[in-house]
């Protein structure tokens, strides 16, 4: 058994198995679980309230991924094409990782709240009369998520583009392809692996995010992550939290498998 297998066992397989077990056990009176077997945790999840939350979570994660792809690809492309500024640009992309995600999310609060930086300047410049409500809206949650996960999209796409053989583009050019055609028929298809990797690296974590929606979304923007977090703290319903986690994990696995199947078919 190599170290990798032991690691996977200790930090992944065993916790998942434990959680699986908890999801089928009755809830303990003061938290925790009682011995026994029951499906009531799963049955509880099938309530419309919770299903709405699940649906909302998927939509938010999907929109976040698409926005990251749309904004991240041009950035990755520009970095891959530049020669002088490349190292600096890559450094700037990675720099946010050196600060805490929590701190960065708080920074967004300071920017977006009614008395925050953006509103203060818009009011001072007389561009608006009343402060814009940005905080505690879906917009704020999306902005926070995109801001947080954008580097995860940029770097894999950059890696894919950087490996692109320039002689392929020259060959395409001499065969008659104009710049747009060269991009659509050569660059884009060959950077798809990076796009997929980036999408997965953004979609999956954002499904489980709870920090952003907690701080920037307020009470109305409850996502599955918040729900699960709640079950293990104030609500003290471990089986329900475990069941919700497992349902989320299964759905993600299915979605990812479908996506990979579609993308890995040869043209």
């Amino acid at each position: 058994m190599g170290p990798g297998t032991l690691w996977m066992l200790a930090f992944f397989a065993i916790p998942v198995i434990v959680m699986c077990g908890y999801s089928f056990m009755p809830r303990g009176t003061y938290g925790g679980v009682d011995p026994g077997f029951t499906l009531e945790a799963y049955a509880r999840f099938l309530h419309p309230v919770y299903l709405t939350i699940l649906e909302r979570t998927f939509v938010v994660a999907l929109v976040c991924t698409v926005l990251c792809a749309l904004t991240g690809y041009p950035v990755a492309y520009a970095i891959a094409r530049s020669t002088k500024w490349r190292t600096l640009l890559l450094f700037l992309v990675v720099l946010p990782f050196w600060t805490s995600f929590l701190v960065r999310t708080f920074a967004m609060i300071f920017l977006m709240r009614d008395t925050g930086l953006i509103n203060t300047w818009l009011l001072r410049l007389h561009l608006i009369q009343q402060p814009l409500t940005m905080l505690y809206t879906p917009f704020a949650v999306l902005l926070g998520l995109v801001y947080g996960y954008l580097p995860f999209m940029i770097l894999p796409i950059y890696a894919s583009l950087e490996k692109l053989d320039t002689s392929l583009l020259e060959a395409a050019e001499v065969l008659g392809a104009r710049p747009t055609a060269r991009f659509l028929r050569v660059t884009l298809p060959l950077s798809t692996p990076g796009l997929i990797a980036g999408s997965l690296l953004v979609f999956i974590p954002s499904l489980g995010s709870f920090l952003t929606s907690d701080l920037l979304g307020g009470a109305k923007g409850l996502l599955v992550g918040n729900l699960i977090q709640n079950q293990f703290s104030t609500a003290r319903n471990w089986p329900f939290g475990s069941a919700a986690s497992l349902i989320l994990m299964t759905l993600v696995l299915i979605a990812v498998l479908i996506y990979l199947r579609l993308r890995l078919r040869p043209e």
Binding site: D165, V186, P189
Partner: protein, 369 residues
């Protein structure tokens, strides 16, 4: 035209005309400027602003992008699109044609099939394969088909046979030559392999240090090299330096001659060319196959000779090379036909006294570089 990059001049005052339908090669060592010249013809580079021009089919094309010139190109690493099948690769150029030159789908399919047959790949086996599933030789043929399907007036080839093993390379050389004659397409070929250039080309431009050293047919390049570089790069050459001591009048059956005192000792005669006068230094190249190796006492009358002793006998298969160390230092290589060392071996072995002899006219008087 000339072309400079920061820090280096890649192409300096290179000028030539390629005939329609010709197989024209640019030959030289790495860094001589041949690939840059090819890229200037293709349009991936533009000549420096001091007046260089590229004219294709009579028109100046300096400002035209590669896809606006009537050329097709085969790249050194083939540059096949890895995500497209063989037939999609070949169809790529045809699919890029817009109205009014748009090519209908049925015609594209037909032309792709013909192109595969032209390069001797069976369409039913290879059409759907991906480049990763092909051998080096097969990829090369697909790259060729992709270029030829467009029926270009001019085909540019950048060292396309480099990564292929010897046997297949020789086959492909003959195929390329035959395609050139069959299709009438002008081939512009870049290589560092002199045998390849000699085999396939109608004319060769030998390049060195960003300039054209000599331009001519394979026979002219091989038999009359103008400079020491060309004499050394193409085939093998022995070099002899000396100073002219006298100039003599034509004798019976021979033209005017000059007597040269060799720098290494001894003397020899060369045909008198214009401009050769006593006191001048001269350098000649003599190819191994123009030399004979004879016992010192048996030098044929009228021939130049240098005495020495045999240093080595090298077995090359078709030929034998006998290396003789001549008086005054220096090795001279003589090529002798191999008549079968097992049945009729050469009488020479290491240490034998010998003379290398050649007729005065069997030499090349070299120009300064």
């Amino acid at each position: 035209m000339s072309k400079s990059f920061p820090g280096t001049t890649a192409v300096r005052d290179v000028s030539f005309t390629i005939e329609r339908g010709e197989f024209f090669s640019m030959l030289g060592p790495s860094g001589c400027g041949k690939t840059t010249t090819l890229r200037l013809i293709a349009g991936f580079e533009t000549p420096d602003a001091d007046g260089g021009q590229v004219r294709l089919l009579g028109a100046v094309v300096n400002d035209k992008r590669p896809y606006e010139r009537q050329i097709a190109m085969v790249f050194q690493n083939y540059a096949l699109f890895p995500h497209l099948s063989v037939e999609r690769n070949i169809a790529f150029g045809l699919e890029q044609r817009k109205a009014p030159h748009r090519v209908p789908k049925a015609e594209i399919a037909d032309r792709v099939r013909s192109a595969l047959q032209l390069v001797r790949l069976d369409p039913s086996t290879f059409a759907r394969r991906l480049p990763a599933q092909l051998s080096g030789g097969q990829r090369q043929r697909v790259a060729l088909a992709r270029a030829l399907v467009l029926e270009p007036a001019i085909l540019l080839l950048d060292e396309p046979l480099g990564a292929i093993d010897l046997q297949l390379r020789k086959e492909m050389q003959l195929e390329l030559k035959s395609l050139n004659k069959q299709l009438g397409t002008t081939f512009v070929y870049v290589t560092h392999d002199q045998e390849e250039a000699l085999t396939m080309s109608d004319r060769i431009a030998v390049m060195s240090n960003a300039r054209v050293a000599q331009l001519g047919t394979p026979a002219e390049i091989y038999e009359n090299p103008r400079t020491a570089f060309v004499a050394k790069f193409i085939g093998e050459s022995n070099f002899f330096d000396g100073r002219i001591t006298e100039r003599g009048a034509p004798g019976k059956g021979a033209g005017a001659w000059c007597e040269v005192e060799a720098a290494a000792g001894g003397h020899f005669r060369v045909p008198a060319q214009n401009g050769l006068a006593p006191g001048q230094s001269v350098r000649i190249a003599v190819r191994p196959e123009w030399l004979d190796i004879v016992p010192p006492a048996s030098v044929p009358p009228g021939e130049n000779a240098l005495r020495g002793s045999v240093r080595d006998v090298v077995y090359l298969g078709e030929t034998m090379h006998v290396v003789v160390t001549v008086r005054g230092g220096g090795d001279v290589t003589v090529a002798v036909r191999n008549e079968g060392q097992l049945i009729n071996p050469l009488p020479w072995k290491r240490g034998d006294d010998a003379a290398v002899a050649w007729r005065p006219e069997d030499c090349q008087i070299l120009e300064d570089e």
